[in-house]
Amino acid sequence: MVKTNRKIIRGVLMLTYVIIIGVLLFLVSSLYSFLNTGADRSKMLHTEVKKIDQYLPKVTWKDDGNEGRKISDQKVKSVENDYLDAWYVKHIAYKTNTRVGIEDYFTESARTNIYSILDYNKKNNITVESTTLKHNLDIEFFSEDGQLLVLTDTDALEYKKVFKDNLLILETTEVNTYRYILLLEDGFWRIRHMVKENSKPYKPQTLKATLAYNNIKGINYYPQATPWDMFGEDYDISIIDNDFKIINNAGLNTIRIFVQYEDFGKANVDYNKILKLKEVLDTAKKNNLKAVVTLFDFYGNYDVLDWTLNHRHAEKIVSAIKDHEALLAWDIKNEPNLDFDSRGKDNVIGWLNFMIDLIKDIDKVHPVTVGWSNTESATILKDKLDIISFHYYEDKEKFESDFIDLKHKIPNKPIVLQEFGLSSYSGIWRPFAGSEEKQANYYAEMQKVLTKNNISFMSWTLYDFDNVPKEVLGRLPWRTNPQKKFGFINSLGEKKLSYKHIAN
């Protein structure tokens, strides 16, 4: 008995010993492996390039040689890089009244001039938000030892907003000519002297572009399976081709498609996406459709320092497809007036203003519009836009009078009803709110008014969708579910009652 007890005790002791050792071993080994993870040998030298595009104004170089030593293209590139960085740190400094980065791009004597202005502005609580959109650079002189150069920036386009106690008190656009002396110090081209030689008011020459035809009968288009993600991974041109056939057969002549800002690669536009966009336009042409291309979908920053990046995005897309026969018009932004509250009306309108100038500068043929979400906002920038576009989701009874009001305010520009529609959704989140009959009735009545007043229209939308990404309307089911049922064709591909009234 004693022996067995002792054996049991011995066994238990041994077992505990083994367990304790096991636990200790495990702890020590996991500590050891923890200390050995994280550091990748390849990262020791920090050789990876961490360049992010922050500031990309349009830069053109005057390539007419210079006095002194001949300058290589590589050197020109590094001058450009440092010069733009100098502007960028200056913008940041005046925006925040801090000195960060100034010393990298201005020599010791030059930076005191900036510091004294910064100190004054800080004391008086003045901030300046600014950006430059265009630089026309020319190297006039490059010294023999490669350490000094004279640079001119002719007609640099500068936009500034001046705030006092966080209130906007001035917005100004200037076209300035500067002359600089730059010195190569510590591998940076630093500004030594800076002289503003000339300043002109900004007068963009906006040519008027006319619409190819006035009787737009159109529809906002997304493929059924990939709404708000037309050019993504599930892109399938055969589905789009088929849909375009349906649209054309329904008697429509126009589609409105959307280019997502981030999906297309922001400032560095993905070439493959442009190819897809071109393919969609080719297919539209094949099916006798023209397209209104809406840019900057899902973009909502409008920050002044973001403008140059937006401009490079627009520039690439516009210049890639501006000669396409299927292109009808450019729609800069979908419902930008909805961002007025969160981003500031001045910001948004300023942003649109320069974007119109940019696009019209590149594409002088196609008209430019903005898809305002209601009739009240539709008068904004009316003198600059070629077409006035608005969306109408309010009471159909009021539509005619609202339209006539708008027409009265803007008598001499084509006005397009760019989005309208009614959801046939009826379910747990909105019982008895809609039905296919109500939808069909809505379209029938709207079409009567449209025909009567000869209004160009584009309805929302061809298909019912199975899912709506959270970026569109958020996650709340009582908002997303009705959005799924705006189509003329349900998700099974069957035509709904409203299909009869898709065109007039």
Binding site: Y94, I114, S143, E144, L148, V162, L170, K196, E197
Partner: protein, 404 residues
Amino acid sequence: MQKKQQITLLIIYFLILCTQAQETNFVGNISLLTTQKEFSVSEDIRLEFIVKSDVRFNIYCSNSYGSSIIYPEINEDKVTFKIPKFLSKKRGLLTWKTTGLKTNISGSLFVNPLQQPKTIETYLGPPSIDAGAIDYTMLVVIPTDSLDNPIKDNSKVDVKSQFLKSERSTPVFTDKLIGYKNIYSPLKSGRMIISSESYGLNSKEFDVNIMPAIATNFKIYVKRNHDYADGNQITTFYTSVIKDRLNNVIIDGSFIEFYITNKKGNILKTTGTTINGVAHAKIIHPDFEENWSVKAYAIGISESNVLNLKFKKVIDDYTVDFNDNNRTIKIGPLESFMGQIIPDGLIVKLFIYKDKKLIETIFKESKAGFVEFNLNPNIFEDGVYDFMIKTAGIEKEFNSLKVW
């Protein structure tokens, strides 16, 4: 008489028109009183406005370096803006714009730098150039006034240079904020001193090293104690005084490579750097009869003549003794041209063949004039071998020797 009256009338009429024009200069409720358009950086700039009613406003003001908002001093119907020094002291355009009015007015002033420089920023480079009036260095001057602005364009700057006995002063005129001059090298090497002067102000003094230009072709010579190929003595090659095309001795430390081609066409190389234009390079004698042809180069720049050298045999003959069942091979005495034992270290090679196939090569250095090879019976079994001995360029063959 009438004509005069007419003219005075006309003038009066014109003056009235002018005053009227000034009165109608009101934009909105304010009018700019200051007519001066150009200022100097040292001046206090005041912008005066007359205001119609109790209008209050500020101005936005922007110079070359940045922008700010300026607040007025108000004196009844006169509103004065004193542009702060930090904005008005920089050369260039100063733009202003009223803020907070229904119709804002704007304008610009030109702020001119002073004529008198306070400092002359000078940049000189490259700091050393080749003699010969082809290469040049560039002097860039930025004369700046007391407020650190580049002085007016088209200001005269005298560039002075001194070299040996010559002193020169040439005027340059500033343009695009700077003035510059290319200074070509003189024909001789040495040190040039450069400075500049503008409106009585002298810059710092800078010096440029005028280096001799690149080497021209040169000659080479050889120095050796004797011409025997003893593998021990050292031969020295040296160059003539190498000069550039203008007779300046080339810079010390120029690298000269000597290429030696031997009888078989193989290349040996030795190098030296110049001191006072002469480069020395050394190489050990071969240990067998040789013919060398030597040529030196300043690589990529210039070359020398070809020098031919002969090395005589140091040993005419030697004896080989086979002992100990032919397992010990004793070579020697190795005597040199004067009958004395040659210095230790001469390489003797023994090639061992069996059935016409080379099976072993043994190297040994001579010691006290002798070399002894021992054939280990564990490696070289009993049998018939052929031997060849080679030293100082002399080969001796011993065929079909029985080793046991």
